[in-house]
Amino acid sequence: MRIIVKCFAGCKDAVGAASVEVDLPAGTTVGEAFAELVDSYPGLASYDRSVMLAVNREYADRQSVLADGDELACIPPVSGGAESHPRR
């Protein structure tokens, strides 16, 4: 099956593109798809713990199973609004 992957902010920089298409076996989960992406784009590895993943514009857990044509988005910790979060 073919999945469209959208990448934002630092994830986009790590992949080198805002959007890529990947072919994955049927039954692939969201977490497995991200692991595949890390193999192809090692710069994504640093996002493994912090990234949120969304399927068709809704946050998804890593056990969710993908379907052909799904849009998977790699969402680094968000920083919208105005003032920065304090450093931890």
């Binding site: 902010a9 630092g10 986009k12 514009r57 910790p77 968000v78 920083s79 609004g81 920065s84 979060h85």
Partner: protein, 152 residues
């Protein structure tokens, strides 16, 4: 979206959730929000600050997953409706290059009485920063450019 254009929406649409690449005026949502049965309009404007962690910032670049961001802002509006029964909520988030002092986000909540409006507006910006997929890159005076990706 300009403030003047927004005023044409007055009375016709209850909620506005928008990602825009155009300059946001502070009163862009105010005119739209104010209706005869309201006694209070609380607006929050987030603005671009000239420093971060003790370093000077020249400007910010905002990027959004626009379709999802608008859907998530709408979700925040729905939460506000459920919690306070407030119908009139509007949010605009800017993307692109923003100079110091420009508005990055404008939120407006209009209610018959002020207390709920303050609470709901504060809730709105907190939730936006949690769930709305928007990112900023700091362009610093020292030449560094860095995405701000801190866990909240």
């Amino acid at each position: 979206m300009s403030g003047r254009a927004d005023s044409t929406l007055r009375g016709t649409i209850k909620r506005v959730y928008k990602i825009t690449s155009e300059h946001i005026e502070p009163d862009a949502l105010f005119e739209w929000s104010l209706k005869p049965h309201h006694g209070a309009v609380v607006t929050f404007a987030g603005t671009v600050r000239d420093h971060s962690d003790g370093r000077r910032t020249l400007r910010l670049e905002y990027e959004a997953y626009a379709e999802m961001a608008e859907a998530k802002m709408r979700e925040v509006g729905e939460e506000i409706r459920e919690k306070w029964g407030i119908e009139d909520v509007a949010m605009i988030h800017r993307v692109g290059t923003l100079e110091i002092g420009e508005i990055s986000i404008l939120i407006s909540v209009a209610t018959p009485h002020r207390k709920n409006a303050f609470e709901a507006c504060s809730y709105a910006i907190d939730r936006v920063k949690q769930i709305v997929p928007v990112w900023k890159k700091e362009i610093r005076a020292d030449g560094e450019r860095e995405w701000v990706e801190r866990n909240s």
